[in-house]
């Protein structure tokens, strides 16, 4: 999300359990000595937690220095491929003076210490590093100071005589050195200093460097554990079959006795909107639940979010496109309507983009265990532990403090792991574990995931531009039609525009004197969610592709026109020139490539999540399809932590953006998705991956995000290039719907 207000407002209510989660500690095992945290008694920690905790300041909540001087770090942010665990090790290690390679990082339990995203806790919105950077540096520096104090006391010296080298305190005068591991216990008893000095940027050893990911080897050898890989003693395996349309409830089960007799069966259960089978293996549970013949009832009247039986994505799109009006204004400058009325030339177009699924490769799962002490323990993929804890407590009917949340590494992020009530298996796992009196591990099959995943909303945007006599745009009126996920999940005020519905149409930096961006809210019948880069994922496609329409209508080169309209914005004009430079100079084409293909290039810009991005794509047409050969991305996130991870994230964002541009579309007919697996919903395969060239520009502006910003420029750059070759504007995605045969030229 770009607008972080909702996250800030959504401060968790259920996290007075303190940072020391005793049951969790049992897992750590091993290393005997330590530790900057164990010496704080639990009672005291809880008392402190109940008082006001300044998040990110209590060293003991985050760091354990083990006897071998390696560090266990509890991250407020969850790792899902974006490299945040490595970034945390770099940032904290830089100030603590521990090589990041000696860090083990894991997701922190719920607790007030970890509310680092504006008073809440949420891994997403490309916020993690930029929201916590200073705080985590101070945390590392504070811990280093405590270790120095402990060493000074032990050696009978003053701190000023001591310094540190990675992993140890040294006394240069005598040549003595004490490993951190030997100082950790004494350091833990000290109070956290409040006035630490941070390292100068010029002295950085790890921040800003391409430090290797901490998880690369485990992930290359099958040793990384995701939620779906975990097990607890005595657990049953669960599989579910959902109502084909949300809101339906299970009626008669016509073959219940037969299914109960299948091998390995434990029990059959009715759940809200689903049936479940518990068995001694997941495969047996799945087979049985899919064999169940269920009569689904129609939703009762006024069932919230019931999927209409006649819902079709095609009809919904037509309705969005034909919804008239200017909507509620979000951004206004000058007099767009008046200027349009007097413009020498008007350019008009309507764009649309389809529903998308997240398609993360790890299917959803949840393990639920009711403990003898009345606590409920959950192992669940999630990007907001406190929010999940509060929801789980409501489902379970217990206090949030009695819900213990484990947040494993995620097998794909992309916005899938938000607290979407109907799209998460954990409420079902809680109910099943309660009913069975045993721990339950529930996995949703890929087919159930396609049925219940939240969707990137469908969107439509109408544009009208006015050109002057020289063909330059002097007015732009844009109306986005649809619904944004931020409003859906954090509450929408009827008279205000949800920023996630317009971001990428609004917030553009081109000097067009008269502008109006409005939004018409139309309820989306689907369960919509956040999808990597959120509104930008389609809105920048709409805007930046329409930009080329304006340029063509005014007989302007689209690159030169962008440069001209950014003349007063050096950060952006520099970035645009940087991407052109990276691509060997701007050329639109068509031109003949060495392999004889006829190619063209398209350009696009985006300003997502506090970063700035300029993108160029090179495409050709082959057998009626768009082929993308190369993508060049210049990204300016202000300042950086790890250039190698940034390059990887840009590659990843290019792949997902391209996948959405070329291939992806969720189609609903009769209230049901037509694709239930990747055979009916293709995602980008390896042979469609272009070469990706990345240039990182550090302008020194405030730090922006990295996980999402590389995506929004890709669809418009590709489509702008494709339009050069086809000679026709393309205003609808994905491109695979188009028949471009005969246009290869």
């Amino acid at each position: 999300m770009n607008d972080m207000t909702p996250v800030r407002n959504h401060r968790s209510t259920g996290s007075d359990d303190g940072p020391l989660n005793i049951s969790r500690r049992g897992f750590l095992g091993g290393a005997a000595a330590l530790i900057l945290s164990v010496t704080v008694p639990v009672g005291r920690a809880r008392a402190q937690a109940a008082a006001t905790v300044a998040p990110g300041t209590r060293v003991n909540a985050f760091l354990e220095i083990r006897s071998d001087s390696t560090v266990l770090f509890r991250s407020a942010f969850i790792e899902g491929g974006q490299g945040i665990f490595t970034a945390m090790a770099q940032i904290v290690g830089e100030e603590l003076d521990v090589d990041p390679v000696n860090f083990t990082v894991e997701g922190a339990p719920p607790g007030p210490d970890y509310l680092l995203t504006g008073g809440g806790r949420f891994t997403g919105g490309s916020m993690s590093v930029r929201m916590s950077y200073e705080t985590m540096r101070k945390l590392g520096a504070s811990a280093r100071q405590m270790l120095l104090q402990a060493a000074a006391a032990r050696l009978g010296l003053s701190i000023s005589e001591l310094s540190t080298e990675p992993g140890r305190v040294v006394h240069a005068a005598s040549g003595r050195a004490i490993p951190y591991g030997e100082l950790a216990d004494a350091a833990a008893a000290l109070s956290v200093p409040t006035d630490v000095v941070l390292r100068g940027r010029a002295d950085f050893r790890w921040i800003g460097k391409p430090v290797a990911r901490l998880d690369a080897r485990d992930k290359s050898t099958g040793r990384a554990h995701y939620a779906i890989d975990l097990k607890v003693d005595g657990m049953l395996h669960a599989a579910v079959q959902h109502s084909p349309r949300l809101g339906g409830e299970p009626g008669a089960l016509t073959n219940e006795a037969e299914v109960q007799a299948m091998p390995g069966m434990h029990s059959i259960h009715r759940l809200p909107g689903a049936v479940a089978v518990l068995a001694d293996s997941w495969w047996r549970a799945r087979r049985a639940v899919e064999a169940l013949q269920v009569t689904w009832t129609e939703p009762a009247a006024a069932t919230p979010r019931a999927m209409p039986a006649d819902f079709s994505s095609e009809t919904h799109k037509a309705m969005l496109k034909s919804t008239p009006g200017d909507g509620v204004a979000y951004e206004q400058e000058g007099d767009a309507a008046g200027t349009l009325a007097g413009a020498a030339r008007i350019v008009e177009a309507t764009y649309d983009a389809p529903y998308l699924v997240h398609g993360q490769l790890e299917p959803p799962s949840a393990i639920a265990r009711w403990n003898a002490d009345g606590t409920l323990e959950l192992w669940i993929p999630n990007q907001a532990p406190e929010m999940f804890q509060a929801e789980a407590a409501m489902v379970a009917g217990i206090e949030p403090g009695k819900v213990i949340i484990h947040s494993p590494m995620l097998g794909g992020f992309f916005g899938r792991h938000f607290l979407y009530q109907t799209a998460n298996p954990f409420p079902q796992a809680i109910l099943l574990a309660k009913a069975a009196g045993r721990p339950v591990k529930l996995i949703w099959s890929r087919e159930e995931e396609f049925l219940r995943d939240t969707l990137r909303p469908m969107g439509v945007a109408r544009f009208r531009a006015g050109l002057d006599g020289d063909g330059l745009p002097v007015a732009l009126d844009a109306v986005a039609v649809g619904e944004g996920p931020t409003g859906r999940w954090f509450g929408r005020q009827p008279d205000k525009v949800d920023s996630s519905a317009v971001e990428g149409i609004a917030g553009k930096l081109y000097a067009i004197a008269n502008r109006r961006v409005g939004q018409i809210h139309v309820d989306d019948p689907a369960i919509i969610g956040f999808w990597r880069s959120v509104g930008h994922s389609m809105n920048d496609f709409f805007y930046e592709t329409f930009f080329d329409e304006m340029a063509d209508a005014g007989q302007q080169d689209p690159y030169e026109l962008r440069l001209r309209l950014l003349a007063d914005s050096p950060r952006h004009s520099n970035l645009l020139q940087a991407v052109a430079d990276l691509a060997g100079g701007w050329k639109r084409g068509p031109y003949a490539a060495e392999d004889g293909s006829r190619r063209a290039r398209g350009v696009a810009m985006a300003s997502p999540f506090g970063s700035e991005v300029a993108t160029i794509a090179e495409v050709s047409l082959r057998d009626g399809e768009v082929v993308v050969h190369q993508v060049w991305v210049a990204i300016d996130p202000g300042s950086i932590v790890n250039p190698a991870i940034i390059e990887a994230q840009v590659n990843s964002a290019v792949a997902l953006g391209l996948s959405s541009a070329l291939l992806e579309e969720v189609v609903y007919v009769d209230g049901m998705p037509q694709a239930r697996n990747f055979d009916g919903y293709p995602i980008l395969p390896p042979d469609h991956m272009p070469r990706v060239h990345v240039r990182i520009v550090e302008s020194g502006e405030p730090m922006g995000g990295i996980g999402e910003p590389g995506l929004p420029g890709v669809p418009p750059a590709v489509v702008n290039a494709a339009s050069v070759l086809t000679g026709q504007r393309i205003r609808s995605l994905p491109l695979s719907k188009l028949d471009l045969k005969g246009m290869e030229g």
């Binding site: 491929g81 050898t221 099958g222 993360q360 590494m409 590659n651 697996n677 055979d679």
Partner: protein, 148 residues
């Protein structure tokens, strides 16, 4: 049924048409092999059957009795597998990592059959899906492993 996995013998008592994937993961507790789609679309479940990359989610367990099954858990005991893992780490291939067991298995099978693969060989063998889009890093790592 008796299965030979990573050089060890296991007795398993499951329905003969149970996919090998679930025997490996649930019955035998080796979770490095991943479930992604269940219909041989994504390749996250790739294992080696007598050295051939095979999608275990659609391979029934009775069909692999008497074969040598290799999973990611034993990859570093394999000459080519070790090279592949080192190349994967050197190229910093994984992001979320969920598909990478399958990718490493597919690369290992390729190098066993074609020690010096051409670009077409790589494209033909490395067809598993990666939602993080690590494809360029994967190709680079396969090329490096072939030269190791």
């Amino acid at each position: 049924m008796e299965l030979t996995i990573n050089g060890s013998t296991f007795q398993v008592d499951v329905e003969p048409d149970t996919p090998l994937l679930w025997v490996v993961r649930d019955t035998l507790g080796m979770t490095g092999t991943k479930y992604g789609c269940g219909v041989a679309q994504c390749g996250a479940c790739t294992v080696l059957i007598d050295g051939q990359a095979t999608r275990s989610c659609v391979t029934t367990v009775d069909s692999v009795v008497g074969t040598a099954i290799t999973t990611i858990e034993a990859i570093e005991q394999d000459t080519e597998g070790r090279k592949v893992v080192e190349a994967w780490v050197a190229n910093q291939v994984p992001q979320c990592g969920y598909c990478q067991s399958g990718q490493v298995m597919a690369a290992t099978a390729l190098l066993k059959q074609t020690p010096q693969p051409s670009e077409d060989d790589i494209a033909g063998a490395m067809v598993n899906l990666c939602r993080c889009g690590t494809y360029n890093a994967i190709s680079a790592a396969v090329r490096q492993a072939a030269q190791a």
